[in-house]
């Protein structure tokens, strides 16, 4: 049997402003991860753009301009799609975490 406390007062909780929030709800958490995606995307893009420098170029058939073109435009298209996906999710998030503009 738990002993009841006759004098029950609610414990004081003072939330201090400006403190970092440790744990977020799902929506905010998703926003944070999308920002991570937005940061990592150009790094990934840069690596993929430099990749053709490492292609084997032993024979004529291995270094065709047409192949390079297909690769680079394909990559470009994928990057546009990825950036589009990220921006769709990030767009709404910009305002709600304080990065929204405060106009004078």
């Amino acid at each position: 049997m738990t002993r009841p406390d006759a004098d029950q007062t609610t414990p004081e909780v003072i939330v201090r402003p400006g403190k970092r929030v440790e744990f977020l709800d799902r929506a905010s958490y998703r926003q944070r991860r999308m920002r991570d995606a937005a940061r990592i995307l150009p790094v990934f893009a840069a690596i993929m753009m430099v990749l053709p420098l490492m292609w084997p170029r032993g024979s004529e058939g291995q270094s065709l301009t047409s192949n390079g073109m297909l690769y680079l435009f394909g990559l470009w298209f994928v990057l546009v799609v990825l950036a589009f996906a990220v921006s769709r999710v990030l767009r709404t998030g910009a305002a709600e975490d304080g990065t929204g503009q405060v106009r004078e």
């Binding site: 009841p4 006759a6 201090r16 937005a38 995307l41 420098l53 073109m69 298209f77 950036a83 405060v102």
Partner: protein, 894 residues
């Protein structure tokens, strides 16, 4: 072949159309209907001024000469745009919060509103951009020349020059008309932006149309086109790693540093969120622009006669195939590319020249301390218009001097490598608080010199700007200074060589000098504002106490902002300070705000200097900075305290609310009690009166008389008990109670209490643990017994179980001796628990309780007087009262 006159007519019609578009946008904006003019699609399209005639014509030429390498010029900006979260977002935010007018303003403002740095960046931008403007003029005239040749006219050099001059004049007029309408460079130029957005659609459609025609109209589909590529001189692609990486870097950096790009990216940005759209849409635009470049180049190389200029394939291919409409569309596309770039570049440069060179010199030329007289607006506007004309003239002169012979792409890259010398100062300035103006100045100078020596001067060719001897053995025979082999490192690609050394030495000088020197307070303030822009909402103060008069400030502000606007600003501020009229108090905050407003018109450095004249140079000092930091800390602490206080007040309010509820309930119960007590008094009184009446009248039988007298006696007892209780409570409450201290064991006291309560052992089983009760207490035992009696009789009254039991438990709890009285009745509902110790309170007003609801109130009073307490303990399976014995007494008992 189409007639040359038709082409001129179409071009003129197109120009008129652009003027109308710009007028329309300005009209809409003036009427406040700027809604879709600020949309993200317009923003994205306006970015496409990155694609100039160099893209439209030059990319094909580039691809014809070097294959896929031309793509690097568009892959760099793609990287920057999809990485907008890293840098662009910050730049745009800074641009808005500091009301930046140009990239020179960014550098100047970041490094302590330095006029010198602003001027340096301006000069660098002019040197880097003039060739580029010349390039645009050249491409337009060359394409006109193609049509002229087609219609049988033979163009002499003078004809080209004349055409170039007319184009330059037309562009200057357009820029003056729509670029200098309002002085505030920070305001959006809706007319220009809409016009270039339209032009960007035209050039995209034109290039795609030519591409589709070439692939499906000439080559015969995608497969044959790829086969044609594999059979062309550019069939193999073996990128040179240093060039590939270097060019991607150069183009990405130039995308950020080009004055015209900064203008559309940052200055004309009306909403930060547009960046997220542009982040994918602009790369998509670039992709489409580059998609057909290689096919056009390859097909051109295949079917055009030997020696044809590949830079003009976009126009000459459709012309040769007899597609005149398509050729005119292609011409308009090239025309659009060239003109939109020239307009924005000129506007951006003119703003820089006027804000960082002309106005500061004009201010300097006056005697220091003297008040600025005359209308500054006129000076600024005129200087901006003149600058536009001069820059356009410079471009034209460069065009005349260069003779139009160089391949277009070469000039483009030289220009790019020049403007990116701003990059270290710019990026360093927004991410590193330690960057200062000495470092920025050193970096810019070194970078500019190295670029000039290794790339700009050599670009004119051997024996043009530099003699062959310099190329071969270095200046004055100093071998390690050879322009194409700095420090004796030979064999690097010239472009990579120049970019590497200029950026390396630039960044090195910037970092080292920044580390070794000390910034002034204003720089430190601005540094914090730039680097931590997301933490500050608006500018911190840059002035300490001021001697300036509000009236002087208003006079000056009117000269720059114009009467109505300045008065509105002052009035709003006065109102915010709670004053009527136009003259607010001159606080440092207000001066800071005013300075930001002015800097939107004339740039940060000039605004700062002009305010400095009035405030007698009382700028912020290191002490002020520290004071501001302290103030911030104090404000934070204060706000924390406020927060705590407000929580406390909330708690107090809650307590008050509870007290109020209690009072209300008590008052209601008191009313109930009064009616109750009158009832209680009335009932016995009535029976006493009626029975005594009967007795007085006599004639009553003996046993009946006895019974009546008994009733009268009982009723009188009941009345006495009630009055005793009331008196007892009165005495206890007044605190005038006499205590008869004595010792006794709890066991004895409880025995007495059980006895005195007169509880029938069959009606209520009382369970006790006598060993625990052998505790000696020193207190008023009579009073304590009274409390116990009350509690026991309460239990007897209310424990309405089948076999009512009362447990009396004595124990030690937290150093105090407590006696619990726990019955197995229904207990007391939670909402009544706070009320039961109040006077006159009774749970139900059924008369069965027989008391007046004073028992528990008396108990509490007694225990309070004795120094102990009695409380109700909820959730014990019935009503449970805990008597806490007085501390000293229980101690004494041990």
């Amino acid at each position: 072949m189409i007639s040359f006159n038709l082409l001129v007519l179409v071009s003129l019609g197109y120009v008129v159309f652009l003027f109308l578009v710009a007028f329309y946008a300005e009209r809409r904006a003036a009427r406040g209907q700027s809604g879709w003019l600020r949309s993200s699609s317009i923003y994205t399209l306006s970015l496409s001024i990155y694609c100039t005639a160099w893209t439209f014509y030059g990319a094909v030429g580039y691809a014809a000469r070097s294959g896929l390498e031309f793509l690097t010029i568009y892959l760099g900006p793609t990287l920057v745009m999809i990485g907008w979260w890293w840098l662009l977002r910050k730049l745009v935010r800074i641009g808005r919060s500091q009301r930046l007018t140009s990239i020179a303003d960014l550098i100047s403002s970041r490094f302590g509103k330095s006029t010198v740095l602003g001027g340096m960046v301006t000069v660098l931008a002019i040197v880097g951009t003039t060739p580029y403007i010349a390039l645009q003029l050249q491409s337009v005239t060359q394409s006109i020349g193609v049509f002229a040749a087609g219609s049988g006219e033979v163009w002499e050099a003078s004809d080209f020059n004349g055409a170039a001059m007319w184009v330059a004049i037309g562009l200057a007029v357009f820029t003056v008309l729509f670029g200098t309408r309002n002085l505030d460079a920070n305001e959006r130029h809706h007319g220009i932006v809409l016009a270039i957005a339209v032009e960007s659609v035209v050039k995209l459609v034109a290039l795609l149309a030519v591409g589709v025609f070439v692939v499906w109209g000439i080559a015969g589909g995608i497969g044959p086109t790829l086969a044609l590529i594999d059979a062309s001189p550019q069939a193999t692609w073996a990128p040179q790693p240093s060039r590939w990486v270097g060019l991607i870097f150069v183009s990405g950096a130039a995308f950020l540093c080009l004055p015209r790009m900064f203008q559309v990216l940052v200055v004309e940005n009306s909403d930060e969120r547009h960046l997220s759209t542009a982040g994918w849409a602009f790369p998509a635009y670039l992709l489409l622009m580059s998609l057909f470049v290689v096919p056009i180049a390859v097909v051109g190389l295949d079917i055009m006669p030997e020696g044809a200029n590949p830079d003009l394939f976009v126009v000459t291919l459709p012309l040769m195939q007899g597609r005149e409409g398509l050729a005119i569309l292609a011409f308009l596309g090239g025309f659009s590319s060239a003109t939109s770039m020239v307009i924005v570049a000129t506007l951006a440069l003119a703003t820089m020249v006027s804000n960082h060179i002309v106005v500061p010199s004009w201010l300097n030329s006056r005697t220091p301390g003297a008040m600025v007289s005359g209308d500054v607006r006129d000076v600024v506007v005129v200087s901006r218009r003149v600058s536009i004309a001069v820059i356009m003239a410079l471009g034209y002169i460069y065009f005349r001097l260069s003779g139009g012979g160089t391949a277009l792409a070469a000039i483009g890259l030289v220009s790019f490598a020049g403007v990116i010398q701003v990059l270290p100062a710019m990026v360093g300035g927004v991410v590193w608080r330690g960057a200062n103006r000495w470092g920025a100045g050193a970096g810019l100078s070194v970078g500019f010199l190295v670029w000039g020596w290794t790339q700009f001067l050599p670009s004119f060719g051997v024996d043009a700007a530099l003699s062959r001897a310099v190329f071969d053995v270095g200046p004055f025979g100093i071998g390690w200074l050879r322009p194409l082999a700095l420090f004796g490192i030979e064999g690097m690609d010239p472009l990579v060589h120049a970019v590497f050394w200029s950026m390396f030495l630039n960044t090195g000088a910037f970092v080292v000098v920044s580390i070794l020197t000390f910034p002034n307070p204003l720089e430190r303030l601005q540094g914090a504002q730039f680097v931590n822009v997301f933490d500050y909402s608006s500018g911190a103060r840059t002035w300490s106490q001021s001697a300036a008069q509000a009236e002087d400030l208003l006079v000056m502000a009117q000269r720059i902002l114009g009467g109505a606007e300045a008065q509105g600003l002052f009035q709003a501020e006065a109102q915010a300070q709670g004053k009527a009229g136009f003259l607010p108090d001159v606080t440092p905050e207000f001066i800071g705000k005013l300075e930001r407003e002015l800097s939107g018109s004339v740039g940060a450095a000039t605004a700062h200097a002009m305010i400095g004249q009035l405030t007698e140079g009382q700028m912020v000092s290191v002490d002020d900075l520290i004071a501001v930091a302290d103030e911030t800390a104090q404000i934070m602490e204060y706000s924390n305290r406020l927060e705590a206080k407000s929580a406390e007040q909330e708690r107090t309010a809650r307590a008050l609310q509870e007290a109020n509820d209690k009072l209300t309930a008590v008052s209601i119960q008191k009313d109930a009690f009064l009616s109750q007590i009158s009832h209680e008094l009335r009932t016995p009184m009535t029976s006493i009166r009626s029975f005594s009446d009967i007795l007085r009248d006599g004639e009553v039988e003996d046993d009946a008389r006895k019974r009546f007298a008994g009733i009268i006696h009982d009723e009188t007892n009941r009345l006495t008990r009630l009055l005793d209780d009331l008196l007892d409570l009165g005495v206890l409450e007044s605190g005038q109670v006499q205590l008869n201290m004595g010792s006794g064991t709890l066991e004895d006291i409880l025995d007495r209490a059980v006895m005195a309560s007169g509880v029938d052992q069959d009606a209520l089983t009382i369970s006790r643990r006598r060993p625990n009760e052998a505790v000696e207490v020193y207190t008023d035992t009579e009073r304590l017994a009274q409390v116990f009696i009350n509690l026991i009789s309460n239990a007897a009254k209310y424990a309405v179980a089948e076999t009512p039991t009362l447990k009396i438990i004595v124990r030690q709890l937290g150093g105090r001796r407590v006696v619990d009285f726990v019955d197995n009745g229904p207990g007391i509902p939670a909402e009544s628990q706070s009320m039961i110790f109040e006077k006159f309170s009774r749970l139900e007003d059924e008369g069965k309780a027989g008391g007046a609801g004073l028992g528990l109130a008396i108990c509490r009073q007694i225990m309070g007087t004795l120094g102990g307490d009695v409380t109700y303990v909820p959730a014990q399976g019935g009503a449970a009262f805990r008597v806490t014995l007085p501390e000293a007494q229980s101690l004494a008992a041990q």
